[in-house]
Assembly symmetry: C2
Homo-oligomer: 349 residues x 2
DNA sequence: CTGAAAGCGCTTACAG
DNA sequence: CTGAAAGCGCTTACAG
């Protein structure tokens, strides 16, 4: 017992394979009666055109690919991707497309590319380009870069990360804080090559704001700590920071998840937020406003990012030759988790 | 400028197309030298075998399909799927597979099936079978049913939902609660046809526990409220319940997300949990233990569910003819959000 | 070690 | 309105 093909349906219905194809793809070309007969046989035999054969023929798979920097389980641990996928999913819905999650193959994004049967890729979290962009270009596979350092002539979506981080650091500085810990998520496996992409931009933004008051990332009192992007890792790091004699009066995180962990740690250490400690997040995920105190954070619309990226990809696939490049803005959202510095307060001016 | 094919590489390297194929798939069949030359040309031209053509030929796509009951954005709004995808993703990682998210096409899961180029499907949240199972079977597409009422002879993964809900309801009853609101997520679009799948099993479990103390789902004091599965919807529903004169002393939810919303509502209404109100969740998602008070809940390993489903699918694809059926167990996790009923306490015995 | 040929299952001009 | 034929891009026995 094997799968029905156009041929078996044609034989059963007493028509040619062409007629079977027309019944599914171009009904006007056969009589209504013939079509009915064919469709009935197809139904009976459980036939539908083989999707792969169809894709080969029409040159389209009706699938968008999402090229991931890490295995699926690791990527999804960060709620960021949940939101991003929702944005991409909106476009899939509108266009009747499916979405192929494409994790690295044998550890390499590059290797994964040629195996994915998709009409194009959204490339996410490409921190260091080790040939991915060139490979995609030479293969003439449409793609969009998200949150990378996109070269000229490549559709891309970015966020004003530098500005966003400068804003929140400035906010904290204006509140008088001078012992500040920056809690960043780790750069990917390519950290050795230096900071790239959004992480680099955020660090630059922090540095910029610090310099406006005569400080910098390497000034005394300013710490930079890198941890995996999980609530537990945020907790641990902040618990350690808070145990120090000269503990920071403000924790500026690079992700709401980390900030939530910071809030947990402060609560368990009996340290009042924002009275004794200010905490800021980044992203403004839904949990940020469910937290108590509610998180001061930098809003970026992750969902919009996914949506725009998918839109760009769809138009690249459709043959739109121009290479859109959109920069989404960020907004500082001041809520209850930040307040005046408890002691290091400096006189205005 | 078009995409390189095996033919163009063959011409450039001065060999046959067969040799090009061998260079990629069966190196032993050509000389090392020839292979090097071919690979160099391929690299230069940006050639790699067309994934769709390859899939047609080999009869495998190296992709697992996840057949979704709703559009991607709606599905992902529930963190449940995030965990489920992580479990599936583990298997993808191990097997070197990609994962195709397949939302309904034109509103129908059934329509989506024939368009997806995958080696098999994980069918999730199929509440009412309107032909999906038969379609998959007649097409000889391997598949696994998750959280459905699986017919005989179909690989499936389920959870002891009846037991799980019976346990938590019994826990609340033992604490003396008699005015209890059950907060359920809505049945899908097929609600008109009655409860199915896990929802039906959970309701049966609740009823079972209630009957052991002479109550039932329709007894006075027992309310059943259905809402969308979001924190906000949980909040709204519980806020309304708490505003009533004869407000419940316990809220038994069908999802941690709803329970989190219940906690929010209680806090905003100034009602102490667990002093004045007990709240229970379901799933034991990570947030359940981050909440304050920590949530009493029913643990099910959603991740394990995804992993087992993917494992079953992989073996079905590999040709394993037997149809495994696994029932994952649940565990009642008692934490701080439940306590003795404040007034309706009844004497023991 | 290499190449001509058939075939994977379909679609679509093209000729009747 | 229908059918024989070529082609999508590849893989793989098979014969040299």
């Amino acid at each position: 017992m094997t799968r029905a093909t156009a041929r078996s349906v044609a034989e059963a219905a007493g028509v040619s394979r062409t007629a079977v194809s027309f019944a599914f793809n171009d009904p006007a070309k056969i009589s209504a009666d013939t079509r009915r007969r064919i469709l009935a046989e197809a139904e009976r035999l459980g036939y539908s055109p083989h999707p792969v054969a169809r894709a080969l023929n029409r040159g389209t798979t009706d699938a968008l690919g999402l090229l991931l920097p890490q295995p699926i389980p690791e990527v999804l641990e960060n709620p960021y991707y949940n939101l991003f996928l929702q944005g991409v999913g909106q476009v899939c819905q509108r266009e009747g497309l499916t979405l192929l999650l494409t994790p690295p193959l044998r550890g390499s994004m590059l290797t994964a590319i040629p195996y994915a049967a998709v009409d194009g890729f959204i490339v996410s979290g490409l921190e260091v380009d080790r040939g991915e962009v060139a490979a995609l270009q030479r293969r003439h596979v449409p793609f969009v870069l998200v949150d990378s350092d996109a070269p000229e002539g490549v559709p891309s979506v970015e966020v004003t990360d530098r500005q966003g981080m400068a804003d929140v650091v400035q906010h904290v500085l204006e509140l008088g804080h001078r012992r500040i810990a920056l809690l960043s998520f780790e750069a990917g496996p390519d950290r050795a090559t230096g900071y790239r992409g959004p992480l680099a931009r955020r660090l630059a933004g922090a540095d910029e704001a610090l310099r406006r008051v005569g400080l910098s990332l390497s000034a005394p009192g300013i710490d930079l700590v890198e941890v995996p992007c999980t609530r537990g890792a945020g907790y641990d790091a902040v618990a350690a920071l808070l145990a120090r004699a000269d503990r920071p009066t403000a924790i500026v995180t690079f992700s709401d998840i980390l900030a939530l962990g910071a809030l947990d740690a402060a609560r368990d250490a009996g340290i009042d937020v924002p009275g004794e400690l200010s905490v800021t997040g980044y992203d403004d995920q839904p949990d940020a406003s469910y937290a108590r105190p509610q998180l001061t954070t930098v809003r970026q619309s992750i969902e919009a990012k996914g949506r725009v990226a998918a839109d760009f990809l769809v138009s690249a696939i459709t043959g739109d030759a121009h290479h859109p490049h959109q920069v989404l803005h960020t907004t500082l959202i001041v809520r209850g988790s930040t307040g005046p510095a408890p002691d290091d307060r400096i006189p205005a001016g």
